[in-house]
């Protein structure tokens, strides 16, 4: 009977839409600015910024948003999202062309890409089916165990995953005569995919499936008493989340032009959790904010650390401290800080203007 005092975890993800206004009118001005800045960025930014900083941010964001979807909307914290992304990336390398011609099948992209998504989704479904039988910390443990097993498997298996060396020269297909690994096309490719993933998560959160997933998160027993198969719903969420992770994983292989077991190691798996938590699990935007912060720290902290005589490796220390600060002071991440700051400002303005809000 303790279910009655279940607290909402990700409350008010999407307040009811204001009726009578088209969705375009409801987009706040800040978003239009963000869209213009992102679209115009290649005109001012250099290649390093576009390809390394922004490209990587978008990729990490997509993998992290698959975790946000599971954790924020479904209440399931999985450490498998990097493994799923990596598996999709590996599949592109194995099924499509790569420098490791002894293994890679060299299939056309329109076979290799769908197959990569499919294999990753099957993997996510099977491991999800194992994970959803557990709750809380045990979900984290079992997904960590599967992630570790997959990592060691790729490292030791030479017939499919080519062990330590992995695959190099994994390049995106030359569609429409564009080299998609050139910084500007790659930037727009990542931006477009990230926007699609973000939009899909927001859209799905209000679909019957997404609403039911939030119901499963808040009160699984009641969901069963409303006719929902809670276990199947959770497994389906794992399968769906794999799509976002796979997009990120495939882009990651193309960005690096290679994939090796290190890409999907335990540190990488945990980084995804750190990214999603730093940004804030309550909203899908948090994954991308977290990813951007992570990448900025990773890319620029070696210089800063160097000034103080620390080795570049120490950037993890900064990330770790940041993570600690977020967990301690703002459990809903940087976006939560932002929300509270805006709420405080609104309250301050209120008595002066006399406005009801």
């Amino acid at each position: 009977m303790a279910l009655a005092d279940q607290a909402p975890t990700g409350a008010r993800i999407n307040p009811a839409a204001a009726p009578g206004r088209s969705w375009i009118e409801r987009i706040p001005p800040g978003w239009w600015i963000a869209v213009v800045v992102l679209l115009a960025m290649p005109m001012v930014a250099n290649n390093f910024w576009l390809f390394q900083v922004m490209g990587w941010s978008f990729i990490l964001g997509m993998i992290a948003v698959s975790l946000t979807f599971l954790a924020g909307y479904g209440g399931m914290v999985s450490l498998l999202q990097m493994s799923i992304a990596g598996l999709a990336g590996y599949m592109v390398a194995i099924l499509g062309p790569s420098g490791t011609t002894s293994i890679s099948l060299g299939l056309a992209w329109w076979i290799a890409l769908p197959a990569a998504f499919l294999v990753a989704a099957i993997f996510a479904t099977l491991s999800g089916a194992l994970a959803v039988r557990t709750e809380g910390i045990y979900t984290i443990m079992i997904t960590l165990a599967i992630a570790a097993a997959f990592f060691y498997f790729t490292r030791q298996n030479y017939t499919i995953f080519n062990g330590y060396s992995g695959f190099n020269l994994v390049l995106p297909p030359r569609l429409f005569g564009v080299n998609w690994r050139d910084p500007v096309p790659f930037y727009y490719l990542c931006l477009g995919c990230a926007a699609l993933c973000y939009g899909a998560v927001v859209y799905i959160s209000r679909s019957p499936f997404g609403l039911a997933l939030q119901g499963v998160r808040d009160n699984p027993r009641r969901m069963a008493a409303l006719g929902f198969n809670v276990t199947a719903h959770r497994v389906a969420a794992h399968a769906l989340a794999s799509v976002f992770a796979s997009v990120g994983g495939i882009l990651l292989v193309w960005q690096n032009a290679q994939i090796a077991p290190g890409t999907i190691g335990i540190p990488a798996a945990i980084d995804i959790l750190v990214v999603a938590v730093i940004g804030g699990l309550r909203r899908p935007l948090g994954a991308f904010v977290g990813a951007f912060i992570y990448v900025i720290l990773q890319v620029f902290s070696p210089d800063v650390l160097g000034v103080f005589g620390f080795s570049a490796e120490r950037f993890k220390l900064i990330i770790g401290l940041g993570f600690l600060a977020v967990v301690l002071f703002s459990p809903d991440g940087v976006l939560g800080l932002w929300d509270r700051w805006r709420a405080r400002r609104a309250r301050r303005v209120d008595p002066l203007t006399g406005a009801p809000r």
Binding site: F209, A224, L226, G227, F228
Partner: protein
Amino acid sequence: MTLTRPDDRPAQMNSGNALELRGITKMFGALAAIADVTLTVRPGERRAVLGSNGAGKTTLFNCITGDFPATSGIIRFFGEDVTAFPPYERIRRGLRRTYQISSLFAGLTVIDNVYLACRGVSRNRYSLLRPRTDDALVHAAEMLVEAVHLTAVRDRLVGELAYGQQRQLEIALAMSGAPRFILFDEPAAGLSPTERRDLVAILTSLPAHIGYIIIEHDMDVALRVVESVTMMHNGRIFKEGRPSEIEEDPEVQELYLGGGHG
């Protein structure tokens, strides 16, 4: 205890009952929360289950819906053996329930709560497409919200609702889709006199083919909305009858009505 006795078989073959419990026992460790309960309810029948706290009434509901599977015994719902079915399979067959302690989705709005209830007993539970505003289920949800007088708080988060409103919502969730039989677990507890009148109005205006069992301490509510009464004590049924018979029964008066129950 045996699960099926030979003499039960003819009845099982062709039972016209909405609900049929045979020898239901639920153990919590060594405690038999309900012991060897046998009960039949006709379609459309409205029945009260009375009994002091801890008598096993809620546990009986939990066994019927499958929230807790019964330790032994057989449950038939409109003739179908649902004993081994998970809760959602029973719900999809037309069984509904409310919870004694409101069991809602605090982080979702009122309309979303009711929409979920409507979606749970319809198809496309896994649909990734947002419902259109003219969606039949959205409309059904709006009607239910109106039926329990919650239209004014339609878009509020359920966690922010007053207690009485949460109880109303609890009832709306149980009326979604096409219920055939509803289990109400103390729906009137903690309601104001006005809210009680609303509740009685809702119960008496349910279509005649929908039967229900109501657990209710308030005799004014319970005996006005039912045609039969089952008395429980210590996990067992000790009396069944019409409301007037139960009210006058000396044993009942001693154990329940007169006895120190609050």
